[in-house]
Amino acid sequence: MRVLRSVDAWCRRGDLTTADLAIFRILYGIAVLMILPSLERASAYPTADFDPPLGPMMLFDAVPPVPVLTALEVAIALLAALLVIGFRTRVVSVLLSVGLLVGYGFLYSFGKIDHTVILVFLPAVMAFTAWGDDLSVDHRAPSSENTGVAQWPLRVLALLIAMPIAQAGYAKASTGWPDLTTHAVQGHMIPEYFKGRDGWLAPVFLDLRVGPIWEALDWLTFIVEIGVLVAVLSWLAFRITLAMMTVFHLSVLLMMNIAFATNVVGYAAFFRWGRLLRVEPGARLPFSPPVGLVLAVALGLGAYGLHEWDAGLQWQGQSVIILAGGVAAAVYLMVLTWQSVAGLTGRSARP
């Protein structure tokens, strides 16, 4: 019984406020709008190649007609925009998860699954938190009934994010990455370059032949990936590891031009945005609900229109998210380091 109580207490422990979660909700909604998937691309594949992966997409015999894909894409955009303003947040969160699941599912029914799953299941998990209470049409004033913020869904989310990352780290560690005579990052970077991922710093790394640097990257990669799962035990350790992972995603973008933005969006769920932006719990939207709804429809349709106008915006959106996340994470790590050093030397802990 004591063990159960300890685990129960650990699940409930956390310092995120309704303001932190509300700001993250807005960031998440905007991120989805920035990287809106172009579902119509699924209709360009040869029809005979439709081969849905194991799971609910097997209910479909073929990709639906283009108007249906367009309607689904518009629906995803509108749901993301409604999430931004916090309208019927719980229902919208679940519907957005379902929409993204099906939408990405069509794109992944031709032999390749991109691993965007964090973006898909995140709103459904966050629906169990109070992320719709502040800065929302659904605004709930703090009262004696809703003073505590449920932290356990964030523990669940942390596990859902950490487990597959650690599994990928283990897969690396058990298939040659620790071997000092071969450099796995280099071995994987070269094919990416010749796939056309030749921008940013890729040409520099193409010509880099310093073994110790490549080997250090090998070890750093699988150690941090496996470490994410261990770090779930402590919020501070988890945040530090996620910040390191975000810098890692930035380096992957610069080196291999792979923009794995969906993970970076998920990591943002665990940071204290309210403290950073000085937003207190109980904060309201600066406009009335009807105005918010009009703005949400305009935001959703506008984002869809922009992606229709230039489908390349999806890639640019992913890059912007990783660049911004990487810079924020680097600053976070530097501030923590400064605070630790200042603490050790007895100076003020606030930079």
Binding site: W152, V156, R209
Partner: protein, 154 residues
């Protein structure tokens, strides 16, 4: 939502979440397929090389004599573009699979990139080897070569 008082509820939930990975591993083993949705990240397992040499399969696309990056055909997503183009133009010889939706995408993308209506698209898959120690690229055989008309819509 688990309430205070039910001490077993959250630990049970966490055990179930933790079991998701081994269950998924069993499913992948049993059906030799990756489930969707699933808890999975890009693996990049293995060291990607054989005795310091990386084998490459490279696609080159040209429209009316102008080179176009393959990634352009899937909104800048390089992997998805390769998958799409290998479905339309098989790597190891074959017949191009040009359905109306496919042709429309090839035509629209080419026109957007080139700024003029396209006519002829040439696609080549070839094999190369990259020596990680020297940076030298050795060119191998052309695996397949296609030349198709993607001109005016019917």
């Amino acid at each position: 939502m688990p309430q205070r008082g039910r001490v077993w509820a959250l630990p049970l939930l966490f055990v179930l979440v933790l079991l998701a990975m081994p269950v998924q591993g069993w499913i992948m083993e049993r059906y030799d397929d990756e489930p969707y949705p699933g808890l999975r990240m890009p693996q990049f397992d293995g060291d990607g090389q054989d005795d310091g040499v990386v084998e490459l399969t490279v696609i080159s696309v040209a429209v009316d004599g102008h080179r176009i990056e393959a990634r352009e055909f899937q909104d800048g997503q390089a992997d998805r573009a390769r998958r799409f183009l290998s479905a339309v133009f098989p790597r190891d010889q074959g017949t191009p699979r040009l359905e109306p939706g496919t042709l429309a995408l090839l035509r629209e993308t080419s026109e957007r990139v080139l700024g003029a209506p396209p006519h002829t698209m040439a696609v080549t898959w070839d094999r190369r080897w990259f020596d990680l120690r020297t940076g030298e690229v050795t060119y191998g055989p052309v695996l397949s070569r296609y030349r198709v008309d993607i001109g005016a819509a019917a």
